[in-house]
Symmetry: C2
Subunit: 234 residues, 2 copies
C-alpha cells in the first residue's frame, strides 16, 4: 500500500506560524523533503527544524541558484523518483513548503508528477502575503475591493500594477526589481501608501515606506499597496 504525500505549508518564517496540523504531520514524519539551495540552509527546513524527528529520513531537493527552467525541472523529476520510491514502499513523505504549497510554491512540480500514482494531501499554510500585511499593520483588502497579486519578475509588471489603481496590490519576489517597482508605484500615484516589507515575522524583519526602501532587496521581500477603501488604510 502506498504511503501518502503531504505538501505542508510551514508559513512565512516564524516557527510559531506553523499550523497545528502541519506540526502534527511533521512531528510524526518518517521522510521529510524540502527545497534547498546548493549551499547554505534550506529556509523551509529552518522554519520547521524543531519539529523534525531525529529518526526521519531527510530528502533535500537541491535547486541550483539562477538555473533555467529545464534543469530545474530535471531536479524535480529526480526528486519525484526518490520520493516516489518512499511512497511505493509504504512510507508517508512530508514535503515542507515555505508559506503555502500552492501559492507561488514549487510543490506543484512534485504534485504534478506524483498525484496520479499516490494519495496526496495538501495542507495550506500562512502565506507571506498575510504575514506582510500583519507586520506592516495594513489591512490588505476590504469589503468590495479587488486585490492583484503579481510577481515583480513579470515582464509587464509595472503596466499591470498601474491598471489596478485604486485597488489593493501586492508585488511578490521584489529582489533586484525594486527600483522598477518603485518607479511604477510613483507613476501610479501610490507611492505614499505603498509599504516595503522584508523577512516578515523573522527576527531581522523590516518594514518601511516604499519611498525609503533600498535599491537592492532580498528575494523574500514584498511591496504592499493597500486599497483606497477608507477602511483599507490604517
Amino acid at each position: 500500500m502506498s504511503g501518502t504525500l503531504y505538501g505542508v505549508g510551514v508559513g512565512p518564517g516564524d516557527p510559531e506560524l506553523i499550523t497545528l496540523k502541519a506540526a502534527r504531520l511533521i512531528g510524526a514524519a518518517e521522510v521529510v523533503a524540502y527545497p534547498a539551495p546548493d549551499s547554505g540552509e534550506s529556509f523551509a527546513r529552518s522554519i520547521a527544524a524543531d519539529l523534525i524527528p531525529e529518526a526521519a529520513v531527510e530528502v533535500p531537493i537541491v535547486i541550483p541558484m539562477r538555473v533555467a527552467r529545464f534543469p530545474a525541472q530535471e531536479v524535480y523529476a529526480r526528486a519525484s523518483e526518490e520520493i516516489g520510491g518512499h511512497l511505493a514502499a509504504g512510507r508517508d513523505v512530508v514535503v515542507l513548503c515555505e508559506g503555502d504549497p500552492f501559492f507561488y510554491g514549487s510543490f506543484m512540480y512534485l504534485f504534478d508528477r506524483l498525484a496520479g500514482a499516490h494519495p496526496v494531501e495538501v495542507v495550506p499554510g500562512v502565506t507571506s502575503l498575510a504575514a506582510c500585511a500583519a507586520v506592516a499593520r495594513r489591512p490588505l483588502v476590504a469589503r468590495a475591493e479587488m486585490l492583484s497579486v503579481l510577481p515583480a519578475t513579470m515582464e509587464d509588471g509595472a503596466r499591470r500594477a498601474r491598471r489596478g489603481q485604486g485597488h489593493a496590490a501586492a508585488i511578490m519576489k521584489v529582489g533586484r526589481h525594486l527600483g522598477r517597482v518603485r518607479a511604477a508605484g510613483e507613476a501610479a500615484g501610490a507611492l505614499d501608501r505603498a509599504v516595503y516589507v522584508r523577512h516578515a515575522t523573522l527576527p531581522q524583519q523590516e518594514v518601511m515606506p516604499l519611498s525609503d526602501a533600498p535599491d537592492a532587496a532580498p528575494y523574500f521581500s514584498m511591496v504592499l499597496v493597500p486599497g483606497n477603501d477608507p477602511y483599507a488604510a490604517s
Copy 2:
C-alpha cells in the same frame, strides 16, 4: 498599563489549521472577542472553541445580518468601547478572526479605532483562498503569473474577471452571485478550468466544476480559476 489587543487569524474552518501562535494566545486569553450573527453560532468562535479557557470573558460582536454600512459601524464603535475598557484595565484581548485578520476581515474596524491608544499585534492566519486551492487540489498561482482576488459582490466583478484572462483569479463571497460569476466565467472561456468550493476544510466541504455548481451558494464559497501556466493546472 494597557493590555494588548491581538487580532488572531483562526484559519478557514478546520480547527487544526489554527497556528501554534494563535493556539497559545487563545489558550491564555483573559478576554476573547469574536464576530457573531444575531442568531446562531459564531463561525470564528466555533473554529477555536476547544482552545478558549473556561474562565475567559467572552465578548460577542453581534452584527445583524444584511445591515447597511453605518449601523454595522455603530456595532464596531460599541464593541471598541467595550474592548477598550478591558485593555485600559490592563487585560489582553484576543479577537478571533475567520481566516486572516487583514484579508477581507472585520478586524480592521477594531484596529482603526483601538491601535492609536493600545498596543496591537496581528497574527496572520491561513486564508480561505489557500484552503480552497488545497482542497480543490489546484495550484493557485505559479512562477510569473498574476492572481486577481475579487469579491463577487463587486458591481463590475464580471468585467474585471474577464480582464484577468489567462491569469489566475479567485472570486470570494460568491453566495447569491453564483449565476453571474458562472456567466462571466463562460464569457471569458474559463469555465472548463474554474472550480467551485464551499466550506473548505470543514466536514461538509464540497468541490466541483463551476459548470456543475448550484445557483444558490452559501456566503462562504469561492470560485477558483487557475492560471494558464502549464504548471498552474494539475
